[in-house]
């Protein structure tokens, strides 16, 4: 062949080789990134090393039962179930639960957080916070189907006041997400408070192992929640055909990927499984309005009651155990709570909890 053919041949081979090299290096980079993401973040969360002690007032103030410090870190592969412990004398005493009644939801939330040690206890400066309200579907706030937007907004504001770097509010509604967030008022409330609403797509879910799982051993969960420095669960109290009531434990269904309808079979066991996997640093139950009939999608103002209460705590089991009493239930009537207790996630005996009750 002549010089030209020779050069053309070389050029073609080089082009092919170069393309292959480029493609494989891109694939390599992608893999590298994936690998780096899968590494859990180290670094302690802390937040319990303060010297002030909180004076606990209220009818439940009896023996100095103390709580363990909040679960450490976003390294959520090792969740620490919250149990009561009398051994801990180093850390200050925070109540397990703060229950505040009042006319203004935002003041209720502030008072509840203050009783728990302030948002600073849960949010470090520069933290990445994820807030998970209940945005099941598009309903106006008066229908008590979605978390009160004022409650969500107050939490967002308080996180930013505590120095959070960013506050992301997310949920996985069962109807058109934009409509659901808009109708519930949460989109606007979050925007005004300075947070960001995140609409979830497939890329936000990743299948994670659930080591403590009895009925499920893995499930796709929202990665933002697992990677957040602080995860705040903000449910609303509603009745539920299958579960009896939907409170904090059930609210985690909003961070579960499809096919989440399958959770309904063996529901109490499966929901407990998920609750063992996901660390909830703070749980704020919105019981300002609750849905007492035709839940969880409601749609009738007659089905709404107004206890005007907020229940805050660090354990979803504790919050649910107390929260169901607001709606007239006993904790042992909820199969999911019974299962949670059986698995050691918390006790259903309200007498064992330090409960701060107040008004705002």
């Amino acid at each position: 062949m002549d010089r030209r053919e020779f050069l053309t041949l070389w050029a073609r081979w080089l082009l092919a080789a170069g393309t292959a090299a480029l493609a494989s290096s891109l694939a390599g980079c992608a893999r590298l990134l994936r690998w780096s993401e899968s590494q859990t973040r180290t670094g302690s969360f802390g937040g319990a090393e303060t010297t002030t002690t909180l004076v606990v007032t209220g009818p439940e103030n009896t023996s100095p039962s103390q709580t363990t410090p909040p679960p450490s870190g976003p390294a959520s592969s090792e969740p620490v179930p919250t149990t009561t412990s009398t051994m801990d004398t180093v850390h200050p005493t925070y109540p397990d639960l703060a229950v505040i009644r009042g006319e203004a939801p935002d003041r209720n939330v502030r008072a509840a957080l203050a009783a728990l040690g302030g948002m600073e206890r849960f949010v470090e400066p520069g933290a990445n916070v994820v807030v998970k309200p209940n945005v099941l579907t598009g309903r106006l706030p008066e229908y008590a189907v979605t978390t009160n937007p004022l409650v969500v907004a107050t939490i967002v504001t308080m996180c930013l006041e505590a120095g959070a770097d960013r506050v992301t509010v997310l949920d996985y509604p069962t109807s058109s997400p934009r409509a659901a967030f808009k109708e519930s008022g949460i989109a606007q409330a979050v925007a005004q408070a300075g947070g960001t609403v995140k609409y979830l797509t497939n890329r936000n879910f990743e299948r994670v192992e659930i080591p403590g799982g009895v009925a499920i051993d893995s499930w796709p969960l929202v990665t933002d929640v697992l990677e957040a420095d602080t995860f705040i669960n903000v449910p609303i109290g509603k009745t539920h055909g299958l579960a009896g009531l939907t409170l904090a434990m059930k609210n985690l269904m909003g961070i579960m990927g499809d096919p989440r309808g399958r959770i309904h079979t063996d529901y109490p066991v499966k929901i407990t499984d998920v609750n063992t996997r996901v660390v909830q640093h703070l749980v704020v139950l919105d019981a300002y309005r609750v849905l007492v009939r035709n839940g969880p999608t409601g749609g009738n103002l007659r089905d709404v009651a107004m206890p005007k209460t907020v229940v805050a705590g660090t354990s979803p089991v504790a919050v649910d155990a107390y929260g169901c009493t607001i709606m007239g239930w006993q904790p042992d009537q909820l199969p999911s709570l019974v299962e949670a207790e059986r698995r050691g996630l918390g006790t259903l005996d309200l007498a064992k909890y330090t409960i701060f009750e107040g008004t705002a």
Partner: protein
Amino acid sequence: MPDDRQMEERQRASGHGGMEEQTTSARRSPRRPTRRRGLHRYRRVFQTFFLLAFFTLLTLTFWPLGSVFLGGFLLADPLLALTSLANGVLKWELLLAIPVLLSPLFLGRAFCGYVCPTGFLIELFGPRKERQAGPRVRTILRKIPLFGLVVVLFLLVFGSAVYLVFDPLSLLTRSATTLLYPAVDRALRLVGDIAYLAPPLRGTVDTVTETLTGRLLFPNGLAYRLQLVIFAMFVAILAISWIERRLWCRHLCPLGALLGLVGRKAIYGRVVDQSLCRSCEACTDVCPMDAIRDAGAATDCSRCQIGLECADTCPHGAIRWGRRPRKQHVHDPSRRALLKAGGVAFVGSLFLFTGLGRIQRDVFLIRPPGSRNELDFMATCARCAQCMKVCPTNVIQPAVLDAGWEGFFTPQMDYRRGYCDWTCNECGKVCPTQAIRSLSLAEKRRKVIGRAYIDHNTCIPWSEGRDCLVCQELCPVPEKAIILVSAGQGEGQGQGRGSGRAGLRLPRVVAERCIGCGVCQFSCPVPNEAAIRVRALEQTGFLSK
């Protein structure tokens, strides 16, 4: 009056007699065009503007912006307006079509040449130079417009709007909705997924996702049936331009035929100054619509779109837009041909209306809320896919054969794909012919479009004895249309408390409360075919209302 001196000069120059200078149109290239003043020079600008306007409006057709004016082009479409009118749909928006319908009296088919976005795409993707099919094909093709109009008339009278499948604006809306926007959504999601691999970019990706969700980006993606058919049809319409330039516009387009019919009585149009015309036929080559007859002197006003490329090309400046003389040089089909066309159309229509598809209804054919009864629906639906575009859950899909051949491309609900969102009433708002009537949100929430039925053989509680109740959980009507029955016990609302493990609860549909929105069917965890499915209630028959 011929200019003798010019003739003499030419004869002297060429050395031939004047007659031999006449050349055939096909080979000769036009002389350097003399640019003239006039709006026609901006024809491409107009076309670009209207194409962009069309796509802007279509892109903005999403919840909650739904408005009939987002289908502005469809509203101004006289073919759609006539369909609406013929079916008793009277709304003042129909008036928008009047200027378009009457414009050919003054502007010929300027709509086709300056406004129609489909026409623009056909020109863009078509040949630059004139192409002609063989003479026999041309003769046949030339007969089609009038024939087609007769068919349209019969269909209109007998109550079928199936010809609107071929309306150019409906066609473009449908093609873009089912092909372009799903591709855009997929591309955006792909870019987002790739960008997401780099943690520093995630904030930006999230912000962009937040802005575009529900508008250009859909968490569940966008998917439609019949994409291949719609694509093939669209491509075919563009491709036939390579047989004859703008073949679709010249011969096949029903809207073009309608406008052409009006254009035959044009008051203003292409005017040739006979004293200047040398019959050189330079103009005939450049006409995109092949509207020039008689060696340049006459115009087929049912085709002329006042593009005036001919005027720009004419070396003698003989052509302009002006008041046409009384005597029209127009190609008139013979009365006999018209009668023949009418006969064929009539017989053809009869076949259409005796098909079984018209009276038998598929049990799972659910129309969007606000839809008219099936017969009226067939007569008014423009098959334009505006409803599919605006629907936030992608539940509205083109029917394949569920509504018979006639129902091809008409909208139906596919509850495997989506569900009818409680907060939305957009489809009726954007339907240009009101085949789907615009309902207020309160009305739409009461509108029964179907009823859910539970298959006890596949429903998990009924067949496996295990809990489920996803359907009951998500039913949006305030008085729940799905209640819980305790196994082995009496009925109740099912909100009762057991202690510890409650007994098995079974779902049951309360028929009177169900509106057929399909959330239950969509969410049912039974794979592939839900255990609870919405069935249609209406029965059709020739005389049913």
